[in-house]
Symmetry: none
Subunit: 138 residues, 4 copies
């Protein structure tokens, strides 16, 4: 239950976490956060948007990034300091999203690592891009 | 169901969205994202962390920011371009979190607004701080 | 709200409980248990398995057996002592599963009954087979 | 995303998966399976049982066993052939359950492993005991 310490980690290490995003995921995410934006929950309204159908919340994909960091790299015991997110493309219901985190910097003195974090769909398109800073467990 | 256009918006406009974060919110967020980090779901393991008890996922608070942007400011029809997040303090089960978004910049030519986004707990402590860039509906 | 006592029960008594298993059932089951096996939640990965698509967790069907025992035969007040399960065929999203429990043995002295427990899909195929031992309410 | 093959596995290998079982877990499990036994969902009725309060479904703990098998040992790509379960003690809301699977037999010719599977609460008490038979991925 203890994740990797900074001495276990090196630049280039990566981990992934994948899930097909279902309608029920989007509806439960809306229920928890209160983000009832019709773009996500209203098929009639969404038909008139540029995406033509309901799309998942961008922050739901960000949640998959949180999962890969908290479960695998560095895993339990890490402290999540910051995250940047660019929402580059929509996630449609039924898309399979793979969140990937890769160590890009390592600061042993301050016990911090920086990771490139991306979410990619089943066609290889990057839907979310950004960077996380984490304090690994000691 | 149509949000505010850029001509409806000015620097200093703000909106808020509040919720008391329950154990079930955290559990459902874990269920949707796959983030089963014991810091969130395992009371025994969490007792040995610096926070002494289970805490909410930082990205759950970020979901409240998404809600305030997508529901109110600018509201439906906006395109969420980017978000930065600094996780400054833990959210305990039972904390009441208020997400607040305030317009700090307005670029009419490119149809973009920048908002300062914060999540504050019931004691006034800032738990998440950051910035969103949004394309309001036309 | 009180189930059948052993004197109400005889060998050959049976009860059934049916449900069409939805994607959201599988996703919520994964969310509760933490079983994010890609066979259940990742359509891309599942396409490369022998089943060609996502399948339900075997233990979800077992949950329908628990329902028929706890709700009907013998019903509330019973103590569930043991269960054996053979997973004989996959359950696809949209399959309608009928859990059936039939009393096969009755031990009045020890207040125990044994039931043959099966889950059958809409084509009559047995997907789960096994045996439960229960202590009926007094 | 590929689990361990039989050549990666040896007798004595084990893995664990832990979670504090919440009221919301039990309620969602009930909603998915239809097991609305008052022992799990009715605090008034449960007060008159031998356990004096609502308890979790035994099959929910079994779901944690499924998670450890499907996620870790052997992990993705395994085929779950059978499971035996003895329900030895109740799981109360708020209990932290650790599912553990340990390889006890290995049949290379038939590509099958047998695992001792237990669920233990935070006091070390075994609440579920049993055995799984699995076909690891090739």
């Amino acid at each position: 239950m203890r994740g990797k310490t900074i001495s276990d980690l090196k630049v280039g290490d990566y981990a992934e976490h994948s899930k097909t995003i279902s309608e029920s995921d989007v509806y439960m995410f809306a229920g928890v956060t209160g983000d009832f934006n019709p773009a996500h929950l209203n098929a009639q309204a969404a038909a008139h948007t540029m995406f033509k159908e309901r799309i998942a919340h961008g922050m739901l994909s960000a949640g998959l990034i949180s999962a890969v960091l908290g479960m695998q790299l560095p895993g339990p015991g890490a402290i999540y300091l910051s995250q940047t997110l660019k929402f580059l493309a929509p996630v449609m219901f039924g898309d399979t999203i793979t969140a990937r985190a890769e160590v890009t910097e390592r600061n042993v003195d301050r016990n911090r690592i920086t990771l490139k974090t991306t979410c990619v769909n089943q066609t290889g398109k990057v839907v979310v891009d950004g960077e996380a800073v984490i304090m690994p467990p000691k």
